[in-house]
Structure formats: C-alpha cells, structure tokens
Amino acid sequence: MTPEGQTRRLISKRPKPRSWWLLNKRYTIYMLRELTAIPLLGFVLLCLYQLIKLSAGQSSYESLLSAMSSPAWILINAFILVASILHSVTWILLMPKGLPEFIVGIRVPPAPVLFGGFATWIAVSGIIVTICIRL
C-alpha cells in the first residue's frame, strides 16, 4: 500500500495491438465464436419475422417463402449455418476445460467429454432435422 497523498504514478497498461486476437489461434477462435453471435442473432430475427408473416395469413407467408428461395437468401442461410456450426464445434472443444468432474464426481479425461459433447449435439440436431423433414 502507498500512503495517502503519495499515489503511485502508474503508466497505463501495456498497449495491445488491435490484432491481439491474432496472436494465438485460441484467441482467434474465441473471437470468431463471439462474432458468430451476429449471424445467430440475425437468424433469430428472421425466425421472428417469419412468425409475424405467418400470423398475417397464408399469402403473406408464402410471398416471404418465395422471396427467401432466391440465391442471395440461400447464401445468407448457408453462412448462418456455417457460423452456428463453428460456434457449436469450438464450444464443444472447450468442454473438457469446463466440464470434467461435475457430473460423475470423478475427473473425466478429455476424450469422453468431447465424444459426449459431439454425440449430444449431433443427436439433438438430428432429431430437429428429422422433425422438420417429417412436417
């Protein structure tokens, strides 16, 4: 501690380059994952808009659907899909760092955690896709 009236003259923190997140690949992946929040938010808004159109009646919903079958919209949706896959995969890859021990009470090595994470993710996605196709 420094007595009152004797404040330390501190130089500010070491400046970080704007490209600090390119310094190692884990930071880069982290920033990309954070960035996927934007396309994912877009997707949510799109879904909401679809709901609004749906509630406005069949014709308005169908006009939206036909608009969305344009190549530009398909590209946008493909981009969102890639972003959500990136988000999920990088998040699951972090799971061994955050998860071991707290389910079964013993330390679980990374491999089973990763396997469990991916398996759950694929299974849940599979169920949703199946339901969508059936409908």
């Binding site: 501690m1 003259r9 501190l10 130089i11 923190k13 070491r14 982290y30």
Partner: protein, 248 residues
C-alpha cells in the same frame, strides 16, 4: 562447442527518464538449461544494472517472475531458452498497469480482488483445537487440490481478454481460489462467497475463453472452476425462486 548467443529484446519504460515505451536489446550467452529469468539476471548483473524485474525463488513457486515472453504470458524462471529461437522479446505482463520496465502493479488483485471472495475457511462455529482436526478423506481433499495450487503469479489475468476490457472483473485466480474453499468439505461459507460470485463483475462476466487455464504454469484450471461455479450459482438462483424459504 560453439557458445549460443541470443538477442533479448526487452520492452522498457521509466517515466522519470522518458515518456513511453522503448525496446532495448541485449546479447546474452546461453548455456544449456538456462531459463528466460537467467538471461535477465545475466543482463542485470553483467550488462545493465538498471533493468527492473521481480524474481525470488527461481523454482516456480513464489510467483514473482511472470512476464510476457514472445507475446505469451510465462513464468520466466521455468521457461527454458531451448524452446525459443535466438531472438526473443520480453515485456511486462499484459492487462496490468506498468510501474516500470518489467514490473507491473498487482495491488488490485492482492489488496482488493482476492479479499473480495473471502478466501479463507468459514465455519459456523470454530471447533476447539483439543478436539483435533476436522476429518477429511483423501478423496474429499482431491476435490479442491488443483485449485489450491495457485501461486498468484497473475499469468491468467494477463491472458484473460475479459479482464482487459473489464478491469473490475474479479478474474480467474480469485474465482478459482473462491472455488478452492467452496469445494473444501470443511468449509461452510459458500453462501457468502456465491453472493459475491453471482454478483456483478464476477462469474457471469466470464465468456469462457479458456485461456486462463492454458496460461497457468501450475496446472490450475480456473476455466473449469468458473464454469462449475456458474452451474452451482444458477442452481442456487433457481432454488431461491422456487423455494424462497430455503434461503437464510
């Protein structure tokens, strides 16, 4: 055998002499097994006595000598020069105010953040000493052993982008140490700690970068400690909604 010589580029500053950062380069002869800290000590003893950096135990346990080496947070006394090229950069830890040269100000952690999480064993009642120790099995001890290995070297804060953006963020080491006590079978004070951890600038500011656990030189896993605490905090919150009477 030809002596290996490396170039050490040290990022320096001393506001009394000049404003701003400057880099000074030193040539250091290197023997097999030398650490980055040994190179700095060679510089201070033989070339430039004005270079300021902290060190003490030189065996990876006192936590003094954390620095940024080739842009990575490292504990320099256990950072072997064999793993580097013939030119390295040494800078102060990121995310902390610099006092001078390689010395950063960590009072924020030592005087504020660490005490804020009550890192001591809390009992409702202290048992008298002549009743002996509180029993604890090796398995119960293993639950918090990793988190108790923190040497407060501050590498995790230096690696944490959240701490960089949110200086009030309680941060990885302090939260791992809070968990060290929360997970201790002898402790009865997790309620008080969770009220801090669930509050502002703590658990929920962590965006799970995971870099704290990569940076830790002692095998502590703050990322895990924080994610576990998030689950526990969420459960406690849910319980307080469903069963408000359970909260005392």
């Amino acid at each position: 055998m030809l002596e290996r010589r490396i170039k050490v580029n040290v990022e320096r500053q001393n506001f009394e002499l000049q404003e701003g950062i400057y880099t000074q380069s030193y040539e250091v002869p290197v023997m097999d097994g030398m650490m980055v800290l040994d190179a700095l000590n060679y510089i201070r003893d033989e070339i430039d006595s004005t270079l300021a950096f902290r060190w003490s135990c030189r065996m990876g346990i006192c936590g003094s000598c954390g620095m940024t080496v080739d842009e990575q947070p490292r504990l320099t006394c256990q950072d072997n020069l064999n793993e580097y090229s013939d030119e390295i950069s040494v800078a102060p830890l990121n995310n902390f105010p610099v006092i001078r040269d390689l010395v950063v100000d960590i009072d924020d952690f030592m005087q504020k953040k660490l005490p804020s999480v009550s890192p001591w064993l809390i009992r409702k009642e202290e048992a008298p000493l002549d009743e002996g120790e509180y029993l604890q099995s090796p398995a119960e001890m293993a639950k918090y052993a990793d988190n108790s290995a923190c040497i407060n070297c501050m590498l995790c804060y230096s690696a944490c982008p959240v701490y960089d953006m949110e200086p009030n963020f309680v941060g990885p080491a302090a939260m791992a140490l809070a968990q060290r006590y929360n997970l201790d079978s002898r402790d009865q004070g997790s309620g008080a700690r969770y009220s801090v951890l669930s509050g502002p600038d703590a658990l929920w500011d962590c965006t799970f970068v995971g870099e704290c656990s990569v940076a830790c030189p002692k095998g502590v896993n703050p990322a895990e400690a924080i994610q576990r605490a998030k689950v526990e905090a969420a459960q406690r919150w849910a319980k307080s909604i469903i069963m408000p009477w359970s909260q005392k």
